[in-house]
């Protein structure tokens, strides 16, 4: 197990390195100039040269690249060209907000997905199962941004039940902790739902299929033959094994969630990484774009690693590592 972990860790570091390299050269080979925001009649070429020099943009590309890699390795993400603040600070503000959104969406994804999948499998071919199948297909096929707008139209604009943007109300000063929490929870409902529901639908499909496979196994027949009630057979005997493949799906779904956060954060004016990324790309704010790509890739790679480990823990039959030992 530990040898496997070490190898996977090394692989992960190499992966991150490749991601950084690809993003760096992609950004720098593209036309466009972060300096363009400074251009105005008072800004002399001499000043431009000085700013360039201070940002290191005058050095040969390959030298800039190695400097960047070294700085990244030390955890130094540089300074935002646009905000003239350390990228680390910008990220420290944005990451918790994105995490709050994605964790809420992930919870919805897992709970709703597994619940509906198990129920569908238990009542296979019932009207409930059929409605579920069609609803899942529908939810999976509608664009996130459109769903968001329709929900805003109904729940915010028509019946005024939920806020349509931002993370909290403007007048939070002096609110008690409880009402602040409720206020934030209300702001979270629509974005988290939009972000999580498509994944929940696909997980429900996988869960159903996986459950049906397990229900065909001999040991389930044995459990039933012993006279156990069906609820117990499903929840106690089948669920654990059926959930296994689904764990992988959930891990692999993370890039999808983080990608969806870009759209959802833009629509709901949510101050997270997705919005920061979109703004930074438009402003050619290279350090911010590079850092966000790095952080997102790191989150995804770590999640994949954890998925592998969780898989090994949940299923003792799987022996990780080449030697077959644990």
């Amino acid at each position: 197990m530990s040898r496997f972990l070490v190898r996977r860790l090394i692989q992960s570091v190499v992966l991150l390195f490749i991601v950084l390299t690809i993003t760096f050269f992609l950004l720098r080979l593209a036309p466009g100039d972060p300096m363009s925001r400074y251009y105005n009649p008072d800004f002399s070429p001499e000043m431009a040269r000085q700013v360039r020099e201070s940002l290191g943009l005058d050095r040969p590309l390959i030298e800039q690249y190695f400097r960047w890699i070294r700085a990244f390795a030390r955890g130094d993400f540089g300074e935002s060209i646009r905000y003239q603040r350390p990228v680390r600070e910008l990220l420290a503000e944005a990451i918790p907000n994105t995490l709050r959104l994605t964790i809420a969406a992930l919870a919805l994804h897992i709970l709703v997905g597994i619940f509906l999948g198990v129920l569908s499998a238990a009542r296979r071919y019932s009207p409930f199962d059929r409605v579920n199948t069609i609803a899942a297909l529908f939810v999976y096929s509608i664009p996130e941004f459109w769903l968001a707008l329709m929900l805003i139209l109904v729940f915010s604009l028509k019946i005024h039940a939920l806020p349509s943007s931002h993370m909290q109300s403007l007048d939070v000063e002096g609110m008690s902790a409880l009402s602040l929490f409720l206020d934030r929870a209300r702001h979270l409902v629509l974005p988290a739902f939009v972000l999580g529901i498509a994944s929940a639908a696909s997980t429900a499909r996988y869960m159903r299929g996986s459950m049906l496979d397990v229900l065909r196994e001999d040991y389930i027949r044995t459990a039933r033959a012993k006279g156990l009630p069906e609820n117990r057979v499903i929840l106690k005997h089948a669920l654990k094994n059926a959930a296994l493949p689904v764990v992988t799906i959930i891990g692999l779904d993370l890039p999808f969630l983080l990608g969806g956060a870009v759209i959802v954060e833009t629509i709901f004016s949510w101050p997270g990484m997705g919005r920061l990324a979109v703004d930074a790309i438009y402003a050619r704010d290279y350090p911010v774009v590079l850092a966000i790509n790095f952080v997102v890739a790191a989150i995804v790679i770590i999640a994949n690693l954890l998925t592998d480990i969780a898989y090994g823990v949940l299923d003792p039959r799987i022996t990780v590592g080449r030697g077959g030992g644990k």
Partner: protein
Amino acid sequence: MSPVEDDPAGARRTQRLWSQGWSRFRKNRFGMAGAGIILVLYLAAALAPMLTPYDPIAQGDVPRMRYVAPCMEHPLGTDKFGRDVLSRVIYGSRISLMIGILAVTIAILLGALVGAAAGYFGGATDAILMRIVDALLAVPRIFLLITCVALFSGSVWLIIVLLGATGWMTTARLVRAQVLSLRNLDYVKAAEALGAGGRSIIWRHVIPNTATVIIVAATLRIGGIILTEASLSFLGLGVPPPTPSWGQMVFEGREALLSAWWLSTFPGIAIAVTVIGFNLLGDALKDAFDPRQFV
């Protein structure tokens, strides 16, 4: 796998695979419904000039005709510029379908090429190509796309190329796996032992046997690509106006969401119906051609 594996004639095996799959497919009602939806969409796109009652781009008589609610004359209402939404939705199908098909073709060709190369040559080639695939999959596609589109500022063709260039990785993995498993099949080994060269093996055995995998993967990817294109348009990074595209229409409707709900609603339904069509078709093809291949 199946008993046909023992069949020494690879060609016969391939033929049987296709005809069996086809007959299974025709029995699938959902799949046929999907095929029907897509057929109607293509007809609508092709016949757009004949079907649409109004010009999709020319502005209407603005103060009087703007934001007209759905009525007999304008079944889906009109927009800010007095343009007929129904006509624009019908014309919008052209962009979505064209981008979907072309981008998926690029993605699949690239993926098949990389996957086949990795699977066939193995060794260092395989290791390097697959690590690149892993790295690209680790960054969510939309980050890659908005980075590229914003930086290289877009035209339709650029968007098609970029959607293709960022969508090939899963296909590469799929094809690589398929090539690896094919290489170990008895009849391929037999062909090798009989002195068949690499090229003949690729053309006679590898390509025909990977074709179903590729077609299914392509159909299932189109829906996703159409959704991604719509998202880009929604972020203002898609096809430049005034060409009608569904994502952009949803975006434009956003500013009058409460007073003119039809602007965002109908193009969104069009996107959903299209994606549902391709997903139904893809699922049915998957079930018909290889029940176990795709998990």
